[in-house]
């Protein structure tokens, strides 16, 4: 069953994009910032995982270090680079995010060298395959999809049921009104960056498993693809990021399967242009930009 194995292949890729796209959309929903440094946080996470696994840490320890490291890094970036610009024009914030992205890439080149390093995927997840019908599917594909979906379920629970999650939705809808309810907006912003980065940490692990060659620039392309997924799903929307991520993953695998692997990236960005022309708010898009 080629179809089934390609479907799972696409879902695996898509779940990585979805994890990354969620970080974009959560942050955009709160501070109206396209956090272009988000992809580079994943790059740093991939290095943390790589070193930790090579250091013979238990996979769970490596995963916790990666998720924790990404979260911490995002909080530091938010506090030092973005938070001082809270009242500045949005464009200044966007330019700062691009600056942070370049900084992270250069720091990574300085400390980790520009050469690619092999990601020890086999130390993180079990290798091997299972047969489903006539199709052979790798454990890592299934685990990637499972872990990503579980992360998204946890996120959905946080956003819909917890006090801070509700505060997040309130701030994203109307910051002033949320403040009048007693919400400390700074806490919510930090929390949002932290949760987005924790998902990015999971994304970094899954990325390493799928593309086990880590360089300081892997975050750039991954970030852009996830950004397309975010726009496609509806910028600012959490379900949109999930749907957008899976769609982009499936699309890419489809294009590659049809024999146009050189076109995979191009098709994704073409989709971005089409979405922006036809339905700029994305599939789940509400008019989030129309705020007074």
């Amino acid at each position: 069953m080629l179809f089934l194995s390609q479907l799972i292949n696409g879902l695996q890729l898509g779940s990585i994009y979805a994890l990354v796209a969620l970080g974009y959309n959560m942050v955009y929903g709160i501070v109206k910032l396209l956090n272009f440094a988000h992809g580079d946080i994943i790059m740093v996470g991939a290095y943390i995982a790589l070193f930790s696994l090579n250091y013979n840490h238990h996979p769970v320890v490596a995963a916790l270090l990666t998720v924790g490291g990404c979260t911490l890094l995002a909080i530091v970036i938010e506090k030092t680079a973005y938070s001082p610009l809270r009242l500045a024009p949005r464009l200044s914030l966007l330019i700062t995010a691009i600056g942070v992205s370049i900084l992270l890439q250069n720091l990574a080149q300085f400390f980790f060298e520009a050469r690619g390093r092999a990601f020890p995927a086999d130390r993180l997840l079990p290798t091997g395959t299972v047969s489903i019908g006539d199709a052979t599917v790798s454990y890592t594909s299934l685990l990637t999809i499972g872990i990503s979906v579980a992360s998204m379920i946890v996120l959905t629970f946080i956003v819909n049921k917890t006090k801070l999650g509700k505060a997040m939705r309130a701030v994203s809808e109307d910051t002033g009104a949320a403040q009048l309810m007693g919400v400390n907006v700074n806490v919510v912003i930090t929390f949002t960056f932290a949760v987005g980065a924790a998902l990015a940490g999971v994304g970094a692990l899954m990325y390493g498993v799928r593309f086990p060659l880590i360089t300081p620039t892997i975050g750039a392309m991954l970030g852009l693809k996830a950004f397309v997924a975010a726009v496609f799903g509806g910028i600012g929307s959490i379900p949109g990021a999930m749907i957008g991520g899976f769609m982009i993953g499936l699309l890419e695998v489809l294009v590659i399967h049809m024999g146009y692997s050189g076109w995979a990236d191009g098709v994704v960005f073409m989709l971005l242009i089409i979405v922006l022309l036809v339905r700029p708010t994305g599939i789940m898009g509400r008019n989030l930009m129309e705020k007074v």
Partner: protein, 233 residues
């Protein structure tokens, strides 16, 4: 209870509030009336901390709250139902009320919500409905109910009757009065000056950032200038 002294507020270059002073005593209903753009909403936003006065002081229960962040001001018992309702349209009625309870303990939330539902049975029937699909009147009830969730000592209402049918306006004012009788001090901003003055103890008339007149509600109702300018007589 609330004492505003020499408030001066600017929107970049526009000097919107020009040295306003007034006060609200515990247990009162006080109304600010004034034409569009006089600065009524700006005064409320400054009291609740969303805007800042360059000078003077705002004392609430004896403490100066001029430089206190808005989320801390709510905790001190000062709630603000802002102009245009500003409920969370994508959240359910219940979630909006939960947001109103944000500063209070979760343990007493149910009980508080039931108290609110006594005033607004309509909200109880619709507690699962997304707030954006409520009618205008229901949205206004939700805005007031949400503000009451924080158990305020002082409630500031910015044009609660805006866009409502006459019958509903009467209903809203009745509820405002009930809240007041239950011990909540009220600072009201209204275009509907007649109605507002009829339930108020005192009122201030605001003209382009200055207080032009002040007095007991009865005096202002019979004042010729007020009649001409705001009561449509």
């Amino acid at each position: 209870m609330l004492k505003v002294e020499n408030m001066n507020v600017y929107y970049s270059n526009i000097h919107a509030i020009k040295g306003v002073s007034f006060h609200v005593n515990e247990g009162e209903i006080v109304t600010l009336i004034g034409a569009n753009g006089a600065g009524k909403s700006t005064i409320l936003k400054t009291i609740s901390g969303l805007m800042h006065s360059k000078t003077g002081s705002i004392s609430f229960n004896g403490e100066n709250i001029l430089k206190v962040a808005p989320h801390r001001i709510v905790r001190r018992g000062l709630a603000h139902a802002p102009e245009g309702r500003r409920i969370f349209l994508q959240m359910s009625v219940r979630e909006n009320l939960e947001m109103g309870n944000y500063t209070q303990s979760a343990a007493t939330m149910r009980e508080r919500m039931e108290q609110i539902y006594v005033h607004f049975p309509r909200l109880k029937e619709r507690h699962k409905q997304v707030a954006g699909t409520l009618s205008g009147g229901e949205q206004q009830m939700l805005a007031i109910g949400r503000a009451l969730m924080s158990r305020p000592k002082l409630l500031m209402l910015d044009e609660p009757s805006m866009g409502l049918a006459p019958l509903l306006v009467v209903e809203i004012f009745k509820i405002v009065r009930e809240c007041n009788e239950a011990g909540v001090t009220i600072l009201l901003v209204e275009q509907n000056a007649n109605m507002a003055l009829s339930i108020s103890d005192r009122a201030y008339v605001l003209e382009t950032g200055n207080i032009a007149l002040e007095g007991s509600a009865e005096d202002l109702i019979s004042n010729d200038e007020v009649k001409k300018a705001y009561l449509g007589a």
